[in-house]
Symmetry: C2
Amino acid sequence: MITSRNEAGIAHVLRMLQQEFGKRLQTNPSSCEQHGHTTTWLCNQPPDGVIYPHSTDEVAKIVTLCEHHSVPIIPYGTGTSLEGQVNAPVGGITIDLTHMNQILSVYPEDLQVVVQPGVTREQLNVYLREQGLFFPVDPGADASLGGMTATRASGTNAVLYGTMKDNVIGLELVTAGGAIIRTANRAKKSAAGYDLTQLIVGSEGTLGVITEITLRLRGIPEAVASAVWMFPSVSAACEVTIQAIQSGLRIARIELVDQLTVSAINAYSKLALPEMTSLLLEFHGTEAAVEEQQTSFREITEAFLGEKDSSTVGAEERNKLWKARHNAYWAIRALQPGTQAFVTDVCVPISRLAECVKAAHRRLNDMNLIGPIAGHVGDGNFHCALLFDPEDSDEQSRAEEFVGWLNELAISMDGTCTGEHGIGQGKIAYLEKELGPATDLMRSIKTALDPKQIFNPNKIFSQPVAQGEDGP
Amino acid sequence: MITSRNEAGIAHVLRMLQQEFGKRLQTNPSSCEQHGHTTTWLCNQPPDGVIYPHSTDEVAKIVTLCEHHSVPIIPYGTGTSLEGQVNAPVGGITIDLTHMNQILSVYPEDLQVVVQPGVTREQLNVYLREQGLFFPVDPGADASLGGMTATRASGTNAVLYGTMKDNVIGLELVTAGGAIIRTANRAKKSAAGYDLTQLIVGSEGTLGVITEITLRLRGIPEAVASAVWMFPSVSAACEVTIQAIQSGLRIARIELVDQLTVSAINAYSKLALPEMTSLLLEFHGTEAAVEEQQTSFREITEAFLGEKDSSTVGAEERNKLWKARHNAYWAIRALQPGTQAFVTDVCVPISRLAECVKAAHRRLNDMNLIGPIAGHVGDGNFHCALLFDPEDSDEQSRAEEFVGWLNELAISMDGTCTGEHGIGQGKIAYLEKELGPATDLMRSIKTALDPKQIFNPNKIFSQPVAQGEDGP
């Protein structure tokens, strides 16, 4: 763990950047604070300056300068990460990539696009719509594609289209020494050496700064249909999900929302949905294929619940509910006005999901906590949004204790402490519990690729000691 | 590049292994030679001994011993790699993993299986059949799953199901120091730290010995249908493929075979197929979905060629042709009895595929070489099997020159020098041309994870110098 600020180096680098970039370096406290905090529950640790490069060469220049003076670099997209990924615990320079927001090339025949890291997923999809193409990964927030790559983001339709892991073809990256490398060419598959693309996807800015991304696209499906089904229990909803996936149904989204989340949505969006565990589904394909999938899902559900106990909702409510699902975060916070939400995620093998969610419900009850659960059930991934009163330190510490307990439960079920939010600062202890000696390999890679430990220090794992420094 | 044999270390390790493993260490020349050569065109470089461990702990013991004495280790599955991956250029010990061939656990609800590395894909699929499950990656040969993981193998149906990259969930690995690590738990997706699984997939035994693999499975599709279409040119076949993929057709296999390959198949399998560029297709899904896909493909083809110029073959010929496709290697070799085949692969963005294949045909003609081309056209990946008379050194060197030219052509088209065979020894120079400074990152990772350079030395890239040794 790097514990001290390099005051002299930071001051020097700020002066040099000021000379070179003028107003594109910001050092005012509000801008710095805004770049540290974002959407996490962790405390704000602002950088010393925020710089807005316009090109890969400028990024390389900044990296070279910072590395020379051992000053930390924190890459920044839209700041929608949830585990403190953009905090600057020992200060340094945040590289805000929002000005690098060009869509560089679209290759419709190859179903590929090359973007700069500041392009957001909505910006990309608006741009692609006319060509009948879209980029499928949808983490909810209108995040930057650089940030989504760095966090290995996924979201509601990963069950069909995969996560960033499955949709990044190659990257341009500025590495230690200011070198600009390309991890892969545009071939759809490759067996050429180590998969550097996948090493960088999910590395949370700790191995370099992503300056260009080649993404895989899909054709906009001919037909999209949705469905909502109510279940008497979480187990029933999970069991039906497992059967549907085993039978090969091409479900594009399958979202579990628990009873409390439905109540919150009803109150917030003024709906009158039955307050039961629900599955929100979406099917993509041709008209005929979508029709067939819907029928199959109905058959599976009715066979499981019995026809008379199966309940769905009409088209109007269905659309309202899907819309409301996107606002679930605000609906949940409105359950207890004035509270903050501590959002966590875990992912377990789907066979263990019902058990995991039920145990979480019991534990929340035992600990007197409010934590609605919603999740990407087709992947075994779910979120719990723990509400806490920021004035009530006991409630906050119970919420933290619950999150720790849930992470360990997921790990004990052969799952992971994070399916999509990443490790950042918040889950460092749990990564160690999850993978044990494998984290030593990660540290070796970090040291090899970032010997001066300048890239996003103290994230993912307790940092190895920089070369030439003493032990901790 | 490690250039010298560590004679004293090898002799010592052989004595120690002999004591510990008795007859499970083989040092007779025929066994050693058999483990060096396999199916590559490269010269045979046998190891000094072949050891057959029965457990991960035994592998760890062997690795610890070899590392202590700086003796190379070459992991070995079925020896079906094509670029010299199992050669022992500076001697050492081959770890033959064929005795570690247990299927450890099947998780039908999670569509996962855990296997030892010596399990072959056919063994696995026979085992899974009763449960209605299968493992989709099919590189042709009945390769071991450890070897397929190490080479990032793919094959005919990667276009629908992905490559090993997309189908390995996690690994157990014996690393330097004899440590046993797990790269991931069984969650379907994870954002927990660096993706060590993907770093090991495709690392060709250079970072450790894979001792367990968790794989993703699929349900056996309700219906499988095949089709064969003839095309007047490679361009026409590629254009139709692009349109079919863009339109979202779920094609499970789409294989291009050129005119010469069809001729070879006709002669070898006693068929009378029209000697034209052909596409062999397979569709997987429900009865209705497969029917719909076939119709759509027919419509796309007929719209492109005009209905009267579109030609397909009947069910009987179709089945014969698919069967013959699997024997294409032998059919091709029978074109000129007594010749050897020099099999290479490249992969380009699909929009460049027709151009690449046509240029290859022209070049083969200009160089007076016979090289039938067949490929996984949906991925932009194709093979060329160059025939050469082993007695004719001029022909052999022309074949090598052609392969170099083809690799560089693929790279110049933003593609890769290997889509599925890997780098091994044969493509080291081309990896450097393809990724330039990114190979320095690979070397840094290699040095960090294998400081004594014992794992499969002189593969993928010219090896960094081992710690404590002098420069080359």
